[in-house]
């Protein structure tokens, strides 16, 4: 038992004292106590010592100038990026325990995480929303750095590493996007990898490297998984270290350099205890808020299993790639997808060297500020253009079918509570003569088809939601027939009929013991027939034969569960 000769107590007490001292090598226990009690530090300040002695404390500064901590200046966005990175790492670690990166098992493991694992759904939601937030926060951090000219000398290298970190964040998000292996994931990544393929020269090689094969499959999933859990996080941690090391060395760019007559602040906020507890409080508030939002207000959807043979209707990229999808609609994919995107990214990377103005003051940077705001507006507009609602040729029959009875997702028929849908067969027809001189529907050409509907069906029994649905159908038929020149004189029939009954009364029914306990189902079908038109000499000529299209959806009682509620849609 090593007891230092200075200790005044011998024996066990002396040993305990020595052990206690080893826990507080830089600052004694008494000094820690005073710190926590909020007492002023003595001079010279012993609390600064931890920043030279402790590994963890050496990463953070001893004190911060007051202006660097102003929330309206940095808004803590860099700090928040790191917060979200750690949040993703922790929730990702949890998910890694249950997830399996093989196409045979990935989807089933997702379902298991959401249904069977306690708090699994919550972890997955946090991970997903956290990813969106992280990308958003990183982009906002970049914007802040741009507008406060913090990239200028001597901080060019910080900006450079920051841009690489932006790329890492986008890649992390993109690689994780594929892992659920549902239709959304599969097709969004298919689009992304086909964009990589489009690059001249090295494109197909990059695409093959990403996918491990000709198409997205087991190879792609495994490679994306390894990228997502190991390669990219490792690179990100290294780059964050480099980035923050440079930030610490150069110190946060002073706010007074932005204005003409502002004087530098003298006041400094000591890291220990003020900043430590401030950051601790923010961490806990953010964690609580995030868990709260994810449990009560948000739900990460899982679409149906990835199917290489069936492309869903409106495939869209993740929101931070909308700008790319929007640009691709403007013209040639190499010019816009690679050329313009490459130029934009190149300009961003080299910004500190393109911007020769050494001044950080707002008054001296009018051009840069205006350019920044304009770029932001263009970015938002182009992103809007990337939405599937915009600029894609719409076929009326498809649009109607996908709105009412979509293959993927709920559709407005299913969104009506199950009991409010008619439980006797309802056949509703709408005929619209789009070529007639009169506007709108003609009375007598729309309504319930009594020959095909259930004879016992009465209009009084139909719920208000059903009547609203039928009104919307009438409106949509007119709208789409007027919109689409080829949807001529459509006859649209919506049928809602009972399909499977719930058999709950017979306890001897063996089938029920092995079947799902209460199954009820209705079937909704949209059938459309319209006059075919063919283009001859630039004119649309009506043909004799009719085109038809039918789409069916089976509607189950529990098909929709609303976020935050535990009861199914009643």
């Amino acid at each position: 038992m090593a007891v230092s000769p200075e200790s005044k107590r011998g024996g066990l007490g002396g040993w305990l004292t020595e052990v206690g001292r080893s826990f507080f090598p830089s600052m004694g226990a008494r000094e820690w106590r005073d710190t926590l009690r909020g007492e002023a530090a003595p001079r010279p300040n012993p609390r600064m010592r931890v920043h030279t002695n402790s590994f963890w404390y050496h990463i953070r500064p001893r004190s911060l100038p007051e202006e660097a901590t102003a929330w309206y200046y940095t808004m803590g966005l860099g700090w928040m990026s790191f917060f979200f990175f750690v949040l993703e790492a922790i929730t990702g670690l949890f998910l890694m325990i249950y997830y399996s990166p093989s196409p045979n098992e990935a989807y089933a493991s997702m379902v298991q995480i959401m249904n069977d694992v306690p708090l699994g759904g919550l972890m997955r939601n946090i991970h997903r929303l956290g990813a969106h937030f992280m990308v958003a926060v990183v982009i906002l951090h970049m914007l802040r750095t741009y507008f406060t000219a913090s990239y200028k000398a001597p901080r060019q290298f910080i900006w450079f590493t920051g841009m690489i970190l932006l790329l890492m964040t986008l890649l992390l998000s993109f690689s994780g996007y594929l892992l659920p292996w549902d239709q959304l994931a599969f097709w969004a990544v298919t689009i992304g990898s086909s964009m990589a393929d489009a690059a001249p020269g090295v494109g197909p090689a990059i695409g093959a490297l990403l996918r491990g094969g000709a198409e997205i499959g087991a190879g792609a999933l495994l490679r994306f998984y390894l990228l997502h859990i190991f390669m990219l996080p490792m690179l990100t941690i290294i780059l964050i270290s480099v980035h923050y090391y440079a930030v610490r060395k150069q110190e946060i760019s002073p706010i007074h350099e932005l204005f003409v007559n502002k004087k530098p602040t003298k006041r400094k906020i000591p890291f220990l205890p003020d900043q430590v507890f401030f950051e601790l409080a923010v961490i806990l508030i953010l964690t609580f808020a995030f868990i709260f939002i994810n449990n009560f207000f948000w739900d990460a959807k899982l679409e149906s299993h990835a199917n290489a043979l069936q492309t869903p209707q409106h495939t869209k990229a993740p929101w931070y790639f909308f700008w790319l999808q929007g640009m691709l609609k403007l013209g040639d994919k190499i010019v816009w997808g690679l050329g313009v995107a490459g130029i934009v990214f190149g300009a961003l990377f080299l910004l500190p060297y393109i911007d020769r103005n050494p001044s950080r003051r707002f008054v001296d940077r009018k051009f840069a500020l205006a350019g920044g705001i304009i770029s932001l507006i263009v970015f938002v507009v182009v992103s809007y253009g990337g939405l599937p609602a915009f600029g894609i040729q719409k076929v009326a029959s498809n649009e109607i079918a996908e709105h009412y009875v979509p293959v993927e997702g709920e559709g407005i028929v299913m969104e009506i509570p199950f009991d409010k849908l008619p439980d006797k067969r309802l056949v509703y027809q709408v005929y619209y003569n789009s070529k007639a001189d009169t506007e709108g529907l003609v009375a007598g050409e729309y309504g319930i088809d009594r020959t095909q509907s259930d004879p016992g069906l009465r209009v009084e029994d139909l719920s208000p939601e059903t009547l609203e649905l039928l009104a919307e159908l009438r409106h949509d038929v007119v709208y789409w027939a007027d919109f689409d020149q080829r949807f001529v004189r459509p006859l649209v029939t919506l049928t809602i009929e009972p399909w499977l009954y719930g058999q709950i009364d017979d306890p001897n029914n063996l089938a029920l013991k092995t079947a799902a306990p209460f199954i009820q189902q209705k079937r909704a079908t949209i059938t459309m027939s319209w006059t075919t038109v063919k283009e001859e000499d630039g004119q649309l000529v009506e043909q004799a034969e009719k085109s038809t299209y039918t789409q069916t959806k089976y509607i189950n009682r529990n098909g929709i569960v609303e976020v935050g509620k535990t009861e199914p849609h009643k």
């Binding site: 708090l119 507890f277 868990i291 399909w499 499977l500 029920l512 535990t566």
Partner: protein
């Protein structure tokens, strides 16, 4: 700073309390609700798959005997029903013991098929496990008469429409063939569903065209051998019709293979459809087909 310490403590407690509330309070309800939704989605998915792969033989409402009388057993009364190739799931035969539950039995049938019948091994045909589970869930939902009368009438209409799409045999009355066996064989060929997959010309349909099967030149698709490599003669053709080669060529790619046969595998066994004597008559009819 003390304010921050107080806030930290408060929110630590709040976070722990929230997690506790979620774990103990909401979790089981939410799991149940999510599970119910997953079950509902699985049922809908199973229905789409059933309509694509199974309804052609088993009928849209599981009533059995799809278009062109493919003679598949009904699926809506598996507890008690018996059809060609089906065995009742009761305790008296060994099936319940072997499979444990009706759902396991259904999944096993879908996955592995039934040898010697037209039921293909869907797993070998490339169906995923989740599709098989979904179809089994839908089949389970059909049990005990759970199909509504409306569904049955819709299924009958669907049957009729699908039947109308399959090329029908020649409607005009033809003179009877000289050989009475061949005549009987022709009626069987048309009536028992062979015509649903095979043309008597060169043209491939789901299966290859049978013109010239017993001639020295053989058929267009395979020549003088059967798809299993054996030379065409009475015995091998009898065996081929009885035992088949795997499964029926249903599905959207059925006409895309280079030989014109089904992408999903060669001929299904017809042992449940025709007996040996009838096969002899069909062979007699096939011998009359020339190129």
């Amino acid at each position: 700073m003390t304010k921050n310490i107080a806030i930290s403590l408060l929110f630590t407690v709040a976070t722990v309390a929230l997690l506790g509330y979620i774990w103990f309070g909401q979790t089981s309800d939410r799991l149940v609700a999510t599970t119910q939704r997953q079950d509902a989605q699985q049922l809908e998915f199973g229905q789409r798959n059933y309509e694509q792969y199974c309804a052609a033989c088993h009928g849209l409402a599981g009533e059995g005997a799809g278009p062109q009388l493919k003679s598949a057993p009904p699926l809506n009364s598996l507890q008690t029903g018996k059809g060609p190739g089906t065995e009742a799931f009761t305790t008296t035969n060994g099936i319940q013991k072997k499979y444990g539950s009706l759902r396991n039995y259904v999944e096993a049938m879908i996955t592995n098929g039934i040898r010697g019948t037209a039921m293909p091994a869907w797993k070998q045909q490339g169906m995923r496990d989740d599709q098989i589970r979904a179809i089994a869930a839908y089949v389970m939902a059909m049990q005990g008469g759970a199909v509504s009368p409306v569904a049955k009438s819709v299924a009958a209409e669907w049957n009729a429409t699908e039947t109308a799409k399959i090329p029908t045999p020649v409607a005009t009355p033809e003179p009877p063939l000289d050989d009475p066996q061949a005549n009987a064989g022709r009626d069987l060929f048309r009536g028992r569903g062979c015509v649903g997959c095979h043309n008597v010309t060169d043209k491939p349909a789901v299966g290859p065209g049978l013109a010239g099967l017993f001639t020295p030149e053989g058929t267009v698709a395979y020549g003088t051998v059967l798809p299993n490599g054996e030379e065409v003669n009475d015995a091998t053709v009898l065996e081929w019709i009885k035992v088949g080669g795997g499964g029926p060529g249903v599905g959207p790619d059925a006409n895309d293979s280079p030989t014109g046969g089904g992408e999903y595998g060669p001929m299904p066994a017809q042992a449940g459809v025709v007996n040996d004597e009838e096969i002899g008559q069909i062979i007699a009819y096939l011998k009359t087909l020339t190129r």
